[in-house]
Amino acid sequence: MASLWRYVLAGLGLAALLAGILAAVYLTALQAPQRAEIARSKKTTNGLFVASFEPERGVIRQGELQSWLLTLRTGAGTPVEGAAITISGGMPQHRHGLPTSPQATDYLGDGCYRIDGVKFTMSGLWQLHFAISAAAGSDTVVFNVLL
């Protein structure tokens, strides 16, 4: 009887260990997108500008056309005027592009550009790539947006 108990306990222990490992794997897998870097303000790839990207009305709404604001400054903090901006992107985890083609439609002053026609059709991790070209030169920046 004693030996039987040992087997049962050992079995239980092993099963618990397995459950623990499974849970850990499951949880990290679930959390992966959450850990993606989702800063709303950052240096552009070659450090030419500091860019920040925010929804114009503050909140992100799934499935609706929205305006966002892209603000560009030089390292010294001067607003970047007259920039030409092109936008692309998609969902890296699902290998598809953006459902719309957003455009910079307005310069609002103070380095701030309105990016219109942004739409996120599903929850998950989205990426927006900006190619920026201004008097100071050309640079790119990628923003991650998590829904």
Partner: protein, 400 residues
């Protein structure tokens, strides 16, 4: 002794197998709540159609929708294909009107929530969409001059109470349209511009009345919705009428988890309203069909699109058209994600009725064959027989 230990082992297994673990994680619960019908937002105003929410316009639209007089041969109406007792579709792989079309009739529940209409989205509003079948030689096969005369003769008073005075049609040819037969085109081209414009205006208003009616076609509540609502409020798994079987729950978990269905079939209508290539094979003997790829130019060229002269309100309604994706390999054989509500009771499936059962649909996703043209966005799932059956069982909860 032996019996005791066996009992203990059984108990331990039961605990480990999940009796202790909640049926859904918090993330799963959140997704399930987002799919329930109660998450459906109220229909947005359509400022491009100022009659969209006018009851008299909807009533006239309903009359026209079911009226076979609205066709070239007096035999076809919208409801010939969009049958009211069949979820506004016809159970055929390809629709049949005046002729046999190349696509499957789409069900209409909740269609007013969509920005793009048709499998390939070649129209950008419900009212512009309604004009296409009226003149399509395979569908209602009429022409806009004839429709204007018919409206005046049959529904003149009702029309004028909603839209204002009808134009003088006394010198408008009986049959004329820029899209019709050679004779109809010639007759159309001979009309003075103002007269053509006046006929176009009546034609657009026909679309606006029909669109007002279609806005009332809403998806009904299903067993899944009761389950989702009960799950959101309760602490236990929903019971009785609101319950889902273990197989259905497994299907639901696959749908929002490992099988990735929810990435496209998202939100309370189970659609993202967007276009995807899912590798559905073409039908032999039908003309080549490149889906969204060829629709972009068509919606841009449509004189009744949001940028056109027949839109009400201002151009702020035209964001979808303005920011439309116009090019790119992902448009090839991309089709609009269909809603899955009610799908279980309206076979066949896909844009040309390629699959005759949900088993075939799920087998397709499990295998995920390459697309004949363009690149499929879906990837093989290698689902077991049990998992495939579970997905089908779950889809059935969306149709009862």
């Amino acid at each position: 002794m032996n019996r005791f230990s066996r009992l203990f082992a059984l108990l331990a297994m039961a605990v480990l197998a999940g009796c202790g673990k909640p049926a859904f994680s918090d993330a799963e619960k959140k997704t399930i709540a987002s799919l329930g019908l109660s998450a459906l937002p109220p229909l947005k105003a359509d400022t491009s159609n100022r009659f969209a929410d006018v009851p008299a316009a909807a009533a006239l639209g309903a009359t026209l929708f079911f009226d076979v007089g609205m066709s070239g041969d007096g035999k076809v109406s919208c409801s010939t294909c969009h049958k009211i007792d069949r979820q506004f579709q016809d159970d055929l792989p390809q629709a049949v009107g005046a002729g046999r079309t190349n696509r499957r009739t789409m069900p209409l529940a909740g269609v007013a929530h969509d920005a793009w209409l048709f499998w390939d989205g070649r129209r950008d509003s419900l009212w512009a969409q309604a004009l296409a079948p009226l003149e399509n030689p395979l569908e209602q096969a009429g022409n806009r001059a004839a429709y204007a005369h018919y409206i005046k003769a049959r529904f003149g008073e009702r029309y004028e109470r909603i839209f204002g005075p009808l134009p003088d049609l006394s010198t408008v040819p009986a049959n004329a349209s820029p899209l019709g037969s050679d004779a109809e085109k010639a007759a159309w081209n001979a009309m003075p511009a103002a007269q053509a414009e006046a006929v176009n205006r009546v034609f657009a208003n026909i679309g606006k009345a029909i669109a007002a009616f279609e806005r009332s076609i809403a998806p009904p509540q299903t067993r899944f919705d009761r389950f989702a609502a009960a799950l959101a409020t309760g602490t236990q798994l929903p019971q009785g009428d609101d319950a889902m079987s273990p197989e259905e729950i497994l299907g639901l978990k696959l749908f929002i988890g490992k099988a990735n269905c929810v990435t496209c079939h998202t939100g309370p209508r189970f659609t993202d309203g967007s276009f995807h290539n899912t590798g559905v094979p073409p039908v032999a003997n039908l003309p080549p069909d490149r889906g969204r790829m060829d629709a972009v130019a068509q919606v841009e060229a449509d004189p009744f699109n949001c940028f056109g002269a027949f839109r009400d309100g201002d151009a702020s309604a035209c964001g979808e058209l303005r920011f439309m994706v116009k090019a790119g390999p992902e448009l090839v054989r991309a089709y609009k994600t269909p809603s899955l509500r009610g799908a279980a009771t309206r076979a066949p499936y896909m844009h040309a009725g390629q699959f005759s059962s949900l088993d075939e649909v799920v087998a397709h996703y499990s295998k995920a064959p390459a697309s004949v043209e363009g690149v499929s966005e879906v990837h093989p799932l290698q689902l077991s027989n049990r998992e495939r059956a579970a997905l089908v069982a779950f889809l059935k909860t969306l149709a009862e």
